[in-house]
Symmetry: C3
Subunit: 217 residues, 3 copies
């Protein structure tokens, strides 16, 4: 039960299989690319795929012990305190396969956001501070602002803009959203530019400091 495929820094995060339950009888270990980076104090449990160059900040919980599997594509960032979890037996279908959570490439999940399956978040979406996405499909390039909630089985068109604190829980509300303003498009791109430097730079920093068990050093 060691992490065969994980990132270079074998360090101080937790990676483990889901426990065997009636709804998920088979323990499955996460599949994490070596070029991803998991910060100290992150937890990844169950059938989770994390692709290349994705950055995971401290205190992120990716917990596929109920809804499963989770897929997180390349060049994403999951910032401090982000939580991923999913309801059992609820899925989104992407390219013919079922997922509890599917996150496309170059998605940013900002500090304290909650991504709860079933949901699909397409490429280059920005999820703002403490926002919630649950039971929703978010079209590519959308921007979900601070404290907003998107739920209720809605599908957001590509490049939808969800204003701060908005509660989008019907398809009618989802359909009425305007396009992402150019300033937010630029902001989201800049967050991508910054975070794409972290996986390699953190891996370099931690690469030579390995400890079989510990945290402080």
């Amino acid at each position: 039960m060691t992490n065969q495929s994980g990132p270079y820094n074998i360090y101080s995060y937790f990676i483990g299989a889901n426990p065997s339950t009636s709804f998920n009888p088979n323990p499955i270990f996460p599949k994490i690319k070596r070029t991803a980076f998991l910060s100290p104090f992150t937890s990844v449990i169950g059938d989770v795929t994390i692709r290349d160059h994705t950055y995971v900040a401290p205190f992120v919980s990716i917990r596929a012990d109920e809804g499963s599997p989770f897929y997180i594509d390349r060049d994403c960032n999951l910032q401090d305190g982000v939580i991923l979890h999913g309801l059992k037996n609820k899925h989104v279908n992407v390219n013919g396969k079922n997922y509890s959570i599917y996150i496309g490439p170059r998605v940013s999940c900002a500090h304290g956001s909650l991504i709860h399956g079933p949901c699909e978040i397409q490429q280059e979406v920005f999820v703002g501070f403490k926002a919630i996405v649950y039971n929703a499909q978010i079209g590519e390039g959308s921007f979900i602002s601070t404290d907003a909630v998107v739920t209720g089985g809605v599908a957001l068109k590509p490049h939808s803009f969800v204003p701060p604190g908005a509660h989008i829980d019907t398809q009618a509300k989802a359909n009425s959203l305007s396009k992402v303003p150019i300033s937010e498009v630029e902001f989201a791109k800049e967050v991508q530019r910054v975070n794409k430097e972290f996986p390699s730079s953190y891996s370099f920093l931690f690469g030579k400091i390995k400890c079989s068990c510990g945290l402080a050093y």
Copy 2:
């Protein structure tokens, strides 16, 4: 100062006594049933009782260093990022005893919720995503939706339904709440069913992997 009564998996959480302060001079170690499960990266401090078959997810802070004691009954779940803390010298009285936080059996506290004493949460309450309960009494079977706040010393009748984002801070608002809809009753029961499998299944998974100090393996 070892954990004499804690769960089977002596693993990677933190359990410790409260520090000695002017308001809590005596360090008291948590009392945690062996059939409870504490995830990697959980912290439990001070005079805290956790009863049988309660599940504590990653990044949960149960910190009884100010308001004290805390009581968490059997078959509860505290999901990722939940925080329990209390104000000093403020209590609820349950069955003739004072508590900073009293949580009855089969209560679900969903991801990112904040339970702040003084408060009493009676049996089978569901506290939603990022909701806040502070200085309140929540009657049994109530359902507090996502992002809602219940505070101001109010008492919620049994089976009260707090809508998403509602801010219940007067008794008049509390009295005007409707009953929990049947769909939410079913949802809360399902969350209970799922989470009651976790303490034993996680304990089994971790049971043979013990490390005196460590996290990554």
Copy 3:
């Protein structure tokens, strides 16, 4: 890369330099006073100054790997789950020096609040449960209530009161705020009184329990 100036309890937190990036090429190690206290499960990264008698609760992420530096003055408290992060190349100027985040003495950041640079928080400010301060200057003695957001480059006059859930994102809204009510002034002072006992009492508790790597004991 050991922590030369850190607090007494060398224990179970993470302290590390920022990684070398195009925007922060030089790794800088945090400067933390020995009378500060970092709880188990805290993370401090990069050019961060933490002054005397400041208390940092579990699951706090202070991450100066993008916006930098951060300054946290004496007698502050950062409660459970607080996040500090900043945008690159955005600063506040305090006493002729640039900071991503500047926090004056005796500031309380309550559970789950998010402090995002660029921002200045002057002395004796209270930041409430899950509140957000981002791109703002908060005048001394202000009180930001639960779930409120202060952003948009606004400057709050000293002793401004931000009501629960308010979204202050224009200077006009900021100017219209009333003074902090006496009950909230007293509450904030009491939070200060309580938290100022924690750094020394926790340091005493942990002082003799040192582990080169570990958490559980």
